[in-house]
């Protein structure tokens, strides 16, 4: 169904009066994935209002809840903040987490989570390559040893990650190490680009940073990720969230979008992120290139 539309799409738009509002987070990945949804829907003749990269996650979420957005892009792991009375552990499993939030939002908020991409944008810790080689760090176990041997550490992280069981707190517990408050710099936001740049530039002696799974710039910046054999943090897979009402009206879009999203894997996303962040390409171009390459667009 994805290639059903024709060249005269603009003339016979499926929904000429009431365009579908597509939005995403104001970050790189939001730009790429948002544009992807936008392009593919336009390709299929839908009339779209472009709200890509329009706001912070909380605004984005609220906008969906208040019917201000029709389609958004969110991460399954964020379900931990949205759903109430759910055991934390479910978020650590990809499909369980997805099903949980899907069910929850469908029942409570009339929001439908479409099948997510197979790319876990989870939280990880990264260090510089030389640093890892010098101290022989590969996994968090190694890191725990390093810390416990009194190695110098300045970890930059988001506050939320640091104070969660499914985050640093859990890692400390499970791997057996402990960081003092003067060994961490806590930022209230989860902007890893900033943390990474602090790590690369050594600002304030930062030598460990929180990174996300899909951050594409790590190899270029000579950074390596510390493996997390216990997979402590939740799974964050990007998924398109549609309002049930909209989906009822345009049932076709589910397939169109899911086709695209399920085609994306971790490497694709890392690569695309790198193109934008490191090489400075436009997110829309990157999205279009991907869609063209995969044959969704001509």
């Amino acid at each position: 169904a994805c290639n059903s539309s024709t060249d005269e799409k603009s003339e016979e738009a499926v929904n000429p009066d009431d365009p579908i509002v597509v939005g995403s987070f104001v970050d790189t990945e939001g730009g790429i994935l948002g544009n992807m949804v936008l392009l593919i829907l336009e390709e299929n003749g839908y009339n779209i209002t472009d709200k890509v990269q329009f706001g912070t996650p909380d605004v984005h979420r609220n906008a969906l809840l208040q019917d201000e957005l029709d389609i958004g892009i969110d991460y399954t792991g964020n379900g931990q903040y949205y759903a109430e009375n759910v055991d934390e552990e479910v978020w650590r499993d990809a499909s369980e987490g997805y099903e949980t939030i899907k069910k929850y939002d469908k029942e409570n908020n009339d929001l439908i989570w479409l099948a997510p991409a197979n790319a876990n944008n989870t939280e990880m810790l990264a260090v510089k390559k030389e640093f890892a080689e010098k101290h022989d760090l590969k996994t968090l176990d190694d890191f725990a040893d390093y810390v416990n041997d009194g190695g110098e550490v300045t970890l930059i992280t988001s506050q939320l990650f640091a104070e969660k069981k499914l985050g640093l707190l859990g890692m400390e517990e499970e791997y057996g190490f402990n960081l003092d408050s003067d060994q961490t710099i806590m930022l209230p936001h989860g902007n890893t680009a900033e943390m990474i740049s602090a790590l690369v530039q050594g600002t304030d002696d930062v030598n460990v940073s929180l990174v996300y799974g899909t951050d594409g710039s790590l190899p270029d910046l000579n950074l390596v990720v510390l493996e997390d054999p216990l997979s402590i943090p939740p799974v964050f897979e990007p998924s398109v969230v549609v309002r049930a009402e909209v989906l009822d009206e345009y049932p076709d879009i589910q397939n169109i979008i899911e086709d695209v999203f399920t085609s994306i894997d971790l490497e694709d996303l890392q690569h695309m992120n790198k193109d934008v962040i490191v090489d400075g390409l436009s997110p829309k171009d990157v999205a279009r290139d991907y869609l063209t390459e995969e044959g969704f667009l001509d």
Binding site: Q53, E68, A193, L221, D279
Partner: protein
Amino acid sequence: MITINDKTLLLLSSIGAAAFVFLNLIKHKPNRILPGEPYTSFEIFGNIGITILLVWGVFIVFSFVELKHKNKIIFILTTGLIIALFSLLLSNVEALIDGQSSARISFSAGFYVQLFCIYMLFSTYTERIKNHTYIKWIGLLSIVGFFYYFTNTDAFSNLSLVKEYTIKKEQFYDHLRIHALLTFASVITGAFIAIPLGFLAYSRKKLEDKIMVPLSIIETIPTFALFGVLLVPLAGLGSLPFFEQIGVSGIGWAPAYVALTLYTLLPIGRNTLTGFHSVNQNVIEAATGMGMSNRQILQKIELPLAFPVIFTGIRIAFIQTIGGAVLAGLVGGGGMGTFVFLGLGEASPDLILLGVLPIVFFTILLDYILRTIEKIIGGIIYD
């Protein structure tokens, strides 16, 4: 004994010269986020760079001597300096880049500081040249012409800032317009609300705290929280036909506009109150004695006399809002904030600057606009 003839000139040219000598002029970055290699002015300009330093030096000398056409000479030299700085820079960065596609040039402190000094000199001497308006126009036009000519070539294309701009080109002017619109709309709305409130606080002593304290409270609600609070009522409002038509909704320009407006209330309200408090009682007495009604006293006496203080409040609100309007970027309201927050998200200083520099430019423009408005309004109410 040496007497300093022109302190402004001495100050600015010393800073400019120091920036030239001691600060890095640019950074050469192999890609968008790597820190990059710093270069000083000498390293970039080579021996020709001496000419620029020389101009700064000449300015320093000029600040000690009495010269016949000093203002004009300095103005012309300043104009030349802007053009020289840019053309030298552009002609020398080509070699650094050497065809690497993702490599780029970022300006460093040395460049921005010199630019700042040049701007200050330019505006100072534009004001000082009293008669020969044509010289000002020639100066201004040659700068505009210079940039206009080169934007049409790809001379600038290696600059990181320009690269960021190229990516965002489609949205850039829309956002610029939205930013300006948001700023003006919120301050003007704010003034229409806050001036009457300030007056009420002044005329009804009992209400003073009841008005000023809530204004302060509003000012303290952090933006992020405020947007959340505004979403629901605005979304509700947006479902009504009229508001839907004008585009009110819980996201987009509406919450940004409301939030920015709310934030202007305190500076304007407070200065209105203090402005009224400062009007000479003798004059009010004379007016009362002439049988003016309270409204007439307000209109003809108190308002004009309090005007400078009130307008200062508006000026503060304006400048504050110009910067504050980036917050619209957080709720999809558009404006320069979109670039600033994207830049923050991607840790790309140049993208941040792509958002910030227009704001800086806009501030400079606004300063002129406000002065003109002040004169016009002043002219009307002091008539």
